[in-house]
Symmetry: C2
Subunit: 244 residues, 2 copies
Amino acid sequence: MHFTAEQRLDGGVLERTFTLGEIPGILWTPASTSAPVPLILLGHPPLGLRTMYPRLVDRARRAAADGFAAATIELPGSGDRPRWAAAEQARADLRRAVAAGGPVDDHVVDALVLPLVEKSVPEWQAALDALLSLPEIGGPVGYSGGVISIGIRLAVVEPRISAAVLFAGSLVPAVLFEEARRVTVPLHVLLQWDDEGNDRRAALDLFDAFGSEEKTLHATMGGHTGVPQFAGESAARFLARHLK
Amino acid sequence: MHFTAEQRLDGGVLERTFTLGEIPGILWTPASTSAPVPLILLGHPPLGLRTMYPRLVDRARRAAADGFAAATIELPGSGDRPRWAAAEQARADLRRAVAAGGPVDDHVVDALVLPLVEKSVPEWQAALDALLSLPEIGGPVGYSGGVISIGIRLAVVEPRISAAVLFAGSLVPAVLFEEARRVTVPLHVLLQWDDEGNDRRAALDLFDAFGSEEKTLHATMGGHTGVPQFAGESAARFLARHLK
């Protein structure tokens, strides 16, 4: 892990960009930390860190205000990372299916999501190794947001994740739907009731499938990107409750 | 409105019992109030105020800690109020249907719930008149909990209600399901995912029907009476956000 730049944001939060091999990432730490702090991994959709930056930095500031570090890495095939022909093809197929208003074929979902999960989850784990080796970062670790299938797999394979906020989605391959039954960490699932890109019934079925003893569904009105501020605060409080 | 007794609880909250005509009630006000405070009406199931007291006083203490008064009244046919033959019959029919594990006939639900709504809603409104005439109570007014059909009707007919926390249920007469579409105040709906007395699908359909622009579904694991503490706190924060 190699830090490439740093700046202090208003309020004193330290933002550092880094690379982990060829993967770019960003780490935010609170203005002052006397002891190692818990960490929140900030998931995001595969739109590139530059595009997602304004929303990520908002979430990181909230995490820092709660006394947590926050970090994220670029997803494979996004941002400045090499494009990846099969994923581009799958994404085009998905766009076509959604534009046609029809249901999305399982094989389109699988072709898009499964390789993303297979490639990115070990990268998040490598990032976790590097981040937890920094003296200013301790534990526990939470995961928040992004592609729900990545969150499911990480929660299943990574014992250092203690709690997760997931954004309900329906484009979930059957194999990951089954893995959801093996998730046991406390979960807070955000659902946008009128999400144009997700089937509500399928999202509710996925919530039902999670194996966690403590799981909360927090459904609010509006479309995919319309999560109200109070829902974000509720998710932050969930993490604060479990990581402190 | 006639106060019949008063006591200071630990922490200084003032608890006063009252009668409004023949209806017993309880009013809780914060330890110290310099200006008139908002009011939360505490709904409850028809089990009698004495039975419900421990849970009501917990909610009232939380309201007082947030700077709010809280009040409740006995439901018709409950507690020390005169029994009411038709309701007793409907309740016995309901118990029989639930024990038989079958679906509950619409006419059983109607016979139980409709007269309760018709009788109790004007009583809550009369209580509101009396409570708002006290110098220590101002507004706005929130309604929280209890029989969801009463909450629906009250939210529709009573313009002084500014926000409501409702406990999701499925034993809702069709006429009240239709009225739900006319509810416009901000809503926070609690759903117990494995509620043995309620059909989950019907409860989700009712949530979908509410006309409110701001509505949140907060679903947690467990049975009817197993609402976790963090879900109660989330509901209290919703009211604090809207009544302050």
